[in-house]
Structure formats: structure tokens, C-alpha cells
């Protein structure tokens, strides 16, 4: 069974949870920009969150299935249309669907951010250095292109027509950061100003990192100048570049950097930064190690409990305005029967 790529815009890749463990060889972990979306897709399909999916970076794409298949659509909402036997049906986002053989799936971006098409059984791309993720900066894999045929793994389940209330992705709640290796090089007043600044996500950004627009505020600067010896950097690190602007490193960043880092985004908040659409407001709040660890624990619990956010699909989910609001009053529904609506 395969998924055929009929059309693919820029930056559409196969992603899983990446390949940690190669820092000493200069290879960053990569993996999905929004790993929470992979976990949500996996929860909808009742499968392992480490299976590979298709990540769409605010570009349209069309696919065709060679056999009936289940899919989940998660992450930043896209407009999703199912074309089958001459009929066109909108598909709900943050939901699972059972699609017939030969069906065509058309996805087009809405507000921006990374959307995910998670197939039942995952994409069975070759394992390279322990993962299926494309890492374009490292020359591993390639962006998807028209004509590609992606093999799917064996689907572990049959249940579909579920929806999930996703974990929050709005960027209005402050992004929590902890001290980084060079935070102490910045005067306390600069660190306080960093936390007061109403940043906007600059349109310049990709899977390697994104720039923060600080408007008219002056650039940030460490006391001792910008010259620091090159050290290991990690996704989430906020570098202050030569002109004083801040750059948040993401999954596919370089592994070493010589710019001072003012702070590091908590891993459990990084997906919210990666998903902030261009122009979105971003604020940062420095927390201590204990609060950070508690937040990581809470996030791990939330991921482990994603199944409690799943409900049977409501009738007629096709109105796009409904996509971001969820009725959770019903709580958990253990939907054993196949849903009938699409």
C-alpha cells in the first residue's frame, strides 16, 4: 500500500521523532518541528508516536492512496478535501479518517505553521542512522516531489472517525525559558527587558530556526561583547546574533554555535514556538530548573494522557469555522464502532 504524491509545495518532508545521539558527529536530532502533533496523530490511530508522517510547512500538497487507509490530520490546521468518485468532501482537522482506495487528498495551508498527515502504520521510509526523518540541512533524505511513492507500514488498527482536542498551540501564553550557558553574560536588566519585550515571529524562519522581531526595541547585548568560544547548541537555544536580534534554534539547527545564548526554550514549549505563524506574538518567561522540570513532567503526563482528549467525531464537521473549537463535555468515548460519516 502506498501514498502517491500528486503535487507538493516547498518543504514537505517525511518526519518522525528524529535521530538524537549524534551531537558528537555534528548531526542535530532533527525530527518533526511539532512532535506533539505526531503524538496526537498516533493517539488518534492507536499507534506508536515514533512512526513517520508527512510534515507540511505551509505549502499545499495532493496525495492519492493506492488502497484503503486510515489517516490522521494534526498540527497547524490545513484545508483538507477528499476527492473520491467525483465528489468532494471537506475533512476535519485534528481527526482521523478512513479513506477509500484511489481517493485523492488535497491539503492547503490556512494561517501557517506545520501540518501533519499521519498514515495508519506510518510511512515506511528507509531507516538512516536510526530514523526516517528527512534532515535537509544535513543532506539526509529529500523534500517530497510530484511522483514520489511512499510505502506505508502495516496499520495496527481499524478505528477511525475520531477527533482529538489538541494540546494548546496558541503563542499568547508566555514561552517558558531557562538559563543557558551564556545567560550570565547578559546584564540582569537585559534579561528583564528580554522578558518584557513583545516579540513577533519574523517571517524568516525554517526548520533550522526562526528569527524574533523585536520591533523598535534596541538589540540585546551581553556585557562582554559577542565573542564567545563555540559550544554545543541545541534546539530551543535563543542565540543573540551580531545585530542584537534573537534567533530561536529549531529541530534541524547546527550543533555548535559561537553566538551567546540568552536563554533556552523548555523542550515542552518549543512546539508552540515552531508553530507560531509569521507575525504571531511571542513572550518569554525565565523559570528556574525546578519549575522547568515540573513543566516537563506535566507535559510528559499530558502526552501519556492524549487518549483522554479523543472523542467520537460529531456529525458534520465540515464547517471550517468549527475546526478550532472542541466539545469535550462528553469526555472519553471508547469508540469501538466504526464511525460512518467522513
Amino acid at each position: 500500500m502506498s501514498l502517491i504524491v500528486l503535487a507538493a509545495g516547498l518543504g514537505i518532508t517525511v518526519q518522525d521523532l528524529g535521530r538524537p545521539g549524534f551531537l558528537a558527529q555534528g548531526l542535530s536530532r532533527g525530527g518533526a518541528a511539532d512532535p506533539v502533533a505526531l503524538a496526537e496523530g498516533a493517539a488518534l490511530l492507536g499507534q506508536d508516536a515514533g512512526l513517520a508522517a508527512i510534515e507540511l510547512a505551509a505549502a499545499p500538497a495532493r496525495f492519492r492512496l493506492t488502497a484503503p487507509a486510515r489517516i490522521a490530520l494534526t498540527g497547524a490546521p490545513f484545508r483538507a478535501l477528499l476527492r473520491d468518485a467525483g465528489a468532494e468532501t471537506p475533512l476535519a482537522w485534528n481527526a482521523s479518517h478512513a479513506l477509500p482506495a484511489g481517493a485523492e487528498l488535497a491539503l492547503s495551508p490556512l494561517a501557517g505553521g506545520y501540518g501533519y498527515l499521519v498514515p495508519g502504520g506510518g510511512i515506511d521510509a528507509p531507516l538512516l542512522l536510526g530514523a526516517r526523518s528527512a534532515h535537509l540541512a544535513a543532506g539526509i533524505g529529500a523534500a517530497l516531489a510530484e511522483g514520489d511513492s511512499l510505502a506505508l507500514g502495516p496499520d495496527p488498527g481499524t478505528q477511525a472517525e475520531l477527533r482529538i482536542a489538541p494540546l494548546p498551540r496558541d503563542s499568547t501564553a508566555p514561552i517558558r525559558v531557562v538559563a543557558s550557558l551564556q545567560t550570565a553574560l547578559f546584564p540582569a536588566a537585559e534579561i528583564a527587558r528580554f522578558q518584557r519585550t513583545a516579540f513577533r515571529r519574523d517571517p524568516r524562519g525554517n526548520r533550522m530556526g526562526l528569527r524574533l522581531d523585536q520591533g523598535d526595541a534596541p538589540g540585546f547585548a551581553p556585557s562582554g561583547g559577542l565573542s564567545v568560544v563555540s559550544e554545543i547548541v541545541q534546539p530551543g537555544d535563543i542565540q543573540i546574533t551580531g545585530d542584537g536580534t534573537a534567533l530561536v534554534l529549531l529541530a534541524e539547527c547546527q550543533t555548535t554555535g559561537g553566538y551567546p545564548r540568552i536563554a533556552t526554550v523548555l523542550p515542552c514549549d518549543l512546539y508552540r514556538v515552531a508553530q507560531a505563524p509569521p507575525g504571531a506574538a511571542l513572550r518569554f518567561r525565565l523559570v528556574g530548573q525546578d519549575e522547568a522540570r515540573a513543566a516537563m513532567q506535566a507535559h510528559a503526563s499530558a502526552l501519556a494522557g492524549l487518549r483522554s482528549r479523543i472523542t467520537r467525531r460529531l456529525r458534520e464537521p465540515s464547517t471550517m469555522a468549527d475546526l478550532l473549537s472542541y466539545n469535550l463535555i462528553g469526555g472519553v468515548v471508547s469508540a469501538t464502532a466504526e464511525g460512518s460519516e467522513r
Binding site: 551531537l23 555548535t256 523542550p267
Partner: protein
Amino acid sequence: MSEDYPRIAPTGVDGLVVSFAARLDEPANRAALALRAAIEAASWPEVQETAATLVSTYLRLDLLADPGPVLVRLRALVASRDWRAAALPAGRRLLRIPTCYAPAHAPDLDEAAALAGLSRGQAIEALACAPLRVLTIGFAPGQPYIGELGPEWDIPRLRALTPRVQPGALTLAIRQLVLFSVPSQTGWRQVGQTAARLFDPGAAQPFLLRTGDAVAFPPVSAERLAELARSPGGGVSVEALP
């Protein structure tokens, strides 16, 4: 060197850094490599991975683990010996990487030589014969930082970035050489071109170089480089060091 070092500091939620100096010096680099090897050998359960940079050792811990116990063990290990006096890692190799220094492949060599106070010929001889080793691997997969060249090569990076160097480009700044593994923008001066493939994700051994390896850049003509570029190994020879 200074009483301030070695210095242990957290970075982010899951990182610990042991720094041996504020800037590159050879004993600090050896210290970082040796400490990393000792931590790997200790197999502490909280440690997910380690790396050594120019002058420091990095530990990535389990995100949900209490870092307290590992910090105690790390402090004891760091204090247990003079890491700056450590030997280079065992199992080192010498890699000879044929390098073309012809002007078309070394656009910044004349300028770099002039800044070092050398003629072009002297500069090529110096780069080809200098005793060099891989100080660290990083930034991009398999990409080595090599050193340390003599003090005459302490030349700054370019202010304007070179838009694109090709994989295998040999570049120079601040007494170090970088051999690029992927196409890249850079502020380093390109002083040569090799056919080395530093990273091949599908190969049994995806990474050509290891930290600590000795390297040499013997000169070849542009014609020979073109031949080597078509051969799988790029003409690189590997020899075990005693």
C-alpha cells in the same frame, strides 16, 4: 591556566558543560576529549549522550531525571585528575586528504597568505606540512575543526559571507581549518578544495573523521582533483597511528 577552570555549568534543561578554557588552547582540547571518554566509559544512567567541543565537554541528560546525583559524580570525576595533562584518545589515525590549492579552487589563498606574511608557495607548504589534528566535529555532520596552525595564521573571519562553498572546501580563520561537509555560506577563507566526503548517511561508516585524528592536506593538481572527485573515497588514505 586559570583557577576559574575547569568550570561546570548547566545549559538548558538537560545540558551540562565542563569548560576547560575561555578560548582554544591545545591542552584544554585534550582535556575535553579525555573527560568525554571517561564519562562515556562510566556509563552513568542519566547521560543520554556526550560530545566534546574545542575546549569543553557536553553532557545531555535524561530530561526527566534529577540532575543532582550526576552533578555530584561529575564534580568528583572532574576533580580526580589534571585533565589538561591527559593523552590524546587511543585508536587515532592519520588521514591524508589530497587538496587542490590552484586559484580556481582556493579563491582566498592569496589574501590569507598575505595576512600571514607568506608567499603563496610558502603558504601551501605550511598548510600541507603542518602537524594538524581534528580538534572537534560539529556545526554540520562530520565537519571537522582542525588545528592548530601557527600564530601567523591568526587571521579574522571575513566580514562579508562567501555565499556558498562546496562540500570538501578547505577554509581557514583564527589558526584553524574547517573542511566543509555540506554546501554552506561561510565567513571563513577558502584556501583549498578536497574531494573528501565527510558524511554519507547511507554508508556503513557514515562519518569519515573522528575527533583526535591527525590530518594532512598534500597538494594535487586541478586535473587530479577532478579524477579524485569521481572516485568513491576522494583519494583519502587512512593509516593507524601507534
